[in-house]
């Protein structure tokens, strides 16, 4: 029994990490239909910049804020320098640009920082919290809380604000968006800034648990992408639920079946879900009248 | 036994009954028009007949055979095809290629033959190409044959769709607003084309808001409103039907009559 609880706690912790990454995907996707494969790099930058500014003597909160701010700028630069000049290119080409950007950022990070793994102290210490015989570290609560807050923020943004609608409109039909007076260039800039900020925030929150190195981005992006697809791309609810489910699946498989094939089981479940719901758990099917 | 027989067809989206219990039939060479206000369910009816949507009630019979749940490509192979209200063009292919695709059934052989470019496959392709060129002439797009289809204007694309559908040598052809985006003169050309096709024995289902055209060429008219059939009959009877006038035609029809004079 306490084992089950431990598996669940582990699953939720890991799931929250995935959810944070998946949430980062949503904005850029919603604004441009592009899955930004450099999203994992934003997470990495969030962690790495915090590590290095913290080591340089900045207080941790300040280091974290600085990391988020700098990463947002990187996101904006990515949009301005790489994606905007390619406007009008097919979506696959844009995706390749984000893959190129991911390689570029990784290459830059290994030059600017180093190739070592790093970590900074947990925000509220490492004393585990005991719950009915299972344990969870306080940092997990930060991660889970962060994921939930980002989710609520995004959900409000997309359902309640005109700017959020403008973002959706831009992806849906860029030409029409311009015709109604939306500055689509600005929407893209905003989206990249926000996505990057969410990514960096994820990096700041998870580094005490997962550690950070210049190349952690790829793995995180992959899991985050899978989580987002499980939940339904573009929907914050999907990102949250998809992330947590993926984490739980892995933890339960590792606990009860085989740790060796836990990723396999996770992917098989994703395939099974997509088989029944081709748009993921919460994805809306687009209605295209003929 | 009619060539095409539709009975009790219906479908719903959420709470809305988009089409409900609609039936009619079409014979070779007949032009059956389906008219009705926007959102009456005409396109949805076409979608069900052509297999794009699966109806939740009713039947479609082709030559007496029940084809209600048949997939579009099966129906196409049986000789039923259509054009679209919202253009469905192969944008990245040339205008000519768009039409050649219409010859798919007669052109395609075994996969191996295609992969190895065996003479049989090449021969079939050449025939298809030549025939496609003929068809393009017929819709006056032969000059644009090598253009990318995506570069054509709206009206030209409408005609391209018709050519593509004709390539299949259908027995039943569903045309969804073929004259939309065409001016009076262009509409008349399409008008003639449709009449010609009917004469050659094709059964034509036509959805069109251009009443001049509908009244001129239809043999039979089915009127839908809110998914239901509210009237049916010859052009004259339908155009005088008060329910149809109220729901669809309106009284202000003199303008087009005026233009006729």
């Amino acid at each position: 029994m306490d084992a089950l609880l431990q598996f669940l706690l582990s699953g939720v912790t890991v799931g929250a990490v995935y959810a944070l990454v998946a949430l980062g995907f949503t904005i850029i996707y919603n604004a441009s239909d592009v899955v930004n494969f450099a999203q994992g790099e934003f997470v990495m930058l969030g962690g790495m910049i915090t590590v290095f500014t913290y080591q340089a003597g900045l207080p941790l909160p300040l280091a974290a804020v600085l990391a988020i701010a700098i990463t947002s700028l990187v996101g904006v630069a990515l949009n301005k320098l790489a994606l905007e000049p390619a406007r009008g290119a097919p979506v696959v080409s844009l995706i390749i640009i984000t893959i190129g950007a991911s390689i570029f950022i990784r290459g830059a990070a290994q030059l600017i920082f180093d190739k070592q793994l790093h970590r900074f102290p947990s925000f509220s210490g490492d004393q585990p919290i005991h719950i009915f015989g299972a344990t969870i570290v306080p940092q997990s609560l930060w991660v889970i809380g962060g994921a939930v807050l980002v989710f609520i923020g995004l959900w409000l943004f997309f359902t309640k604000t005109l700017t959020g609608k403008a973002v959706l409109a831009t992806a849906n039909n860029r030409l029409a968006a311009q015709l109604v007076g939306i500055n689509t260039g600005w929407v893209m800039t905003l989206s990249f800034a926000l996505s990057a900020a969410i990514g960096a925030l994820a990096g700041v929150l998870v580094t005490p648990i997962t550690l950070v190195g210049y190349d952690v981005g790829v793995g995180l992006a992959l899991k985050g992408f899978a989580a987002a697809m499980l939940g339904g791309m573009g929907n914050p609810k999907g990102a949250l639920v998809g992330g947590i489910s993926l984490g739980l699946l892995e933890a339960l498989t590792a606990g009860y079946l085989s740790s060796q094939y836990k990723d396999a089981v996770a992917f098989i479940v994703i395939l099974a879900v997509l088989f029944v719901m081709p748009q993921g758990l919460f994805g809306k099917s687009t209605t295209e009248r003929v | 036994m009619s060539l095409l027989e539709v009975s009790g067809l219906g479908i719903g989206f959420g709470g809305l009954r988009a089409v409900d219990n609609v039936g009619f039939s079409a014979e070779p060479g007949e032009i059956v028009s389906i008219i009705g206000p926007n959102g009456a369910g005409k396109t949805t009816l076409f979608n069900m007949i052509s297999g794009v949507y699966l109806p939740d009630s009713g039947h479609v019979r082709l030559d007496g055979q029940d084809v209600t749940a048949a997939e579009p490509h099966r129906l196409a192979r049986m000789g039923l095809t259509r054009t679209f209200q919202n253009l469905q063009i192969f944008q990245e292919m040339t205008v000519l290629e768009n039409v050649i695709v219409g010859f798919h059934q007669s052109e395609s052989g075994s996969l191996i033959a295609d992969l190895l470019a065996l003479p049989a496959a090449r021969r079939r392709s050449q025939i298809a190409r030549a025939q496609a060129q003929e068809l393009l002439k017929r819709v006056r797009l032969d000059k644009a044959a090598e253009e990318l289809a995506g570069n054509l204007s709206y009206g030209a694309l409408k005609r391209l769709e018709i050519a593509r559908a004709l390539a299949m040598q259908p027995r039943v052809l569903l045309l969804d607003e073929p004259a939309a985006g065409c001016n009076a003169v262009e509409t008349e050309e399409i008008d003639h084309l449709i009449a010609e096709l009917a004469q050659s024995g094709i059964a034509i289902l036509l959805v069109e808001h251009d009443m001049k055209m509908v009244m001129r060429i239809s043999n039979h008219i089915v009127v839908l409103d809110h998914g239901e059939k509210i009237a049916e009959g010859s052009p004259e009877s339908v155009s005088k039907n008060p329910a149809v006038i109220a729901a669809y035609l309106g009284a202000g029809d003199e303008e087009s009559v005026d233009a006729d004079s």
């Binding site: 844009l94 290994q110 081709p278 | 679209f84």
Partner: protein, 318 residues
């Protein structure tokens, strides 16, 4: 695609392949050439799937893995000669492609991407975890191809580099020839049509599901054969061959070169195979430059190298 006829393209490619060795200063260049051709073969398969049929796959390295390991395992466990192992790998890949393609090809866009990604990861996971059979992450040795010895017996003494250069070039040329045939055929046209509009394709009698499956299977066989050739050439194979990064690399090659164009695929493979070799002079900056090149190509030639240049020549802008 319109620049020249099928035979012109093939001839140009063949001449290039035949003439290049005249300028090779050392045997190493044969190795690079052979890699370009093997990659070109795999990517040509992807052109059929992505460029013609418009279906994405982020898991094609899985098929390369199957092809590669077939050549490692079949000779060791079944006593099959390597040449037949290539065939066996292709058959297994094709069967697997049918089995998984049926359910997942109903998915669209990113959902298809994640499903294929899952497939690729499953394959690489099995190769990694079934250590007893596959040697795990450390990989396993692959028996060489007997053909070279046979040729030597006929008095044709080829170095390993030359041998693989020729063999890979032939394989690629055949692959390109088939892909070009397909492009102009009814099947290929139908694939491109479903790319444009599935509904319209269906209403002209195209069995969309079947056609997608055909594209998937054909491209899987391409990847499998390429994987086999790679394993045989390297005489060693590790699960990296089936890894996610390899899948991404193949798609990147296809898109960089121009995903609708077969010659583009070869160009893309050439670029992405050569770049790391050229960039060794930058050592530290290799990743940086690689990423930058990818971005710049896509910005200035958004439809990929060949098609964009062809379009520019023809005068129709983007």
């Amino acid at each position: 695609m319109k620049l020249s006829s099928k035979w012109m393209q093939l001839a140009a490619l063949a001449v290039l392949v035949a003439v290049l060795p005249l300028f090779f200063p050392s045997g190493y260049y044969y190795r690079v050439g052979a890699l370009i051709f093997v990659n070109g073969l795999a990517v040509t398969g992807l052109v059929i799937l992505i460029g013609y049929a418009g279906q994405i796959s982020l898991g094609h390295a899985g098929f390369a893995g199957i092809g590669g390991y077939a050549c490692a395992l079949a000779p060791a466990h079944l006593g099959l000669p390597p040449s037949l192992s290539i065939l066996l790998g292709a058959v297994i890949s094709a069967v697997l492609a049918v089995l998984i393609g049926k359910p997942i090809l109903r998915l669209r866009g990113y959902y298809l991407a994640v499903a294929t990604l899952g497939f690729g990861i499953l394959v690489s996971m099995v190769l990694t975890n079934e250590r007893a059979l596959t040697g795990g992450p450390d990989g396993m040795a692959v028996q060489g191809l007997a053909l070279r010895k046979i040729l030597r017996g006929w008095g044709w003494k080829l170095s390993s580099g030359e041998f693989w250069y020729i063999l890979s070039a032939l394989a690629m040329l055949v692959g390109v020839w088939i892909a070009l045939n397909l492009f102009q055929s009814a099947t290929g046209r139908a694939m491109r049509a479903l790319h444009g509009s599935e509904v319209a394709a269906r209403t002209v009698g195209i069995d969309v599901a079947r056609l997608k499956l055909q594209a998937f299977v054909i491209s899987a066989v391409y990847a499998s054969v390429a994987g086999s050739l790679l394993a045989l050439q390297n005489q060693f194979v590790t699960p990296d061959i089936a890894g996610f990064m390899h899948s991404i690399e193949m798609v990147t090659m296809a898109v960089l070169g121009g995903v609708g164009s077969v010659l583009g695929a070869v160009t893309g493979s050439a670029i992405l195979t050569l770049l790391p070799q050229v960039l060794t002079v930058f050592a530290e900056y290799e990743q940086l430059v690689l990423g930058l090149v990818m971005i710049l190509v896509m910005i200035f030639l958004p439809r990929g190298l060949l098609p964009s240049i062809a379009a520019k020549l023809k005068g129709r802008g983007e």
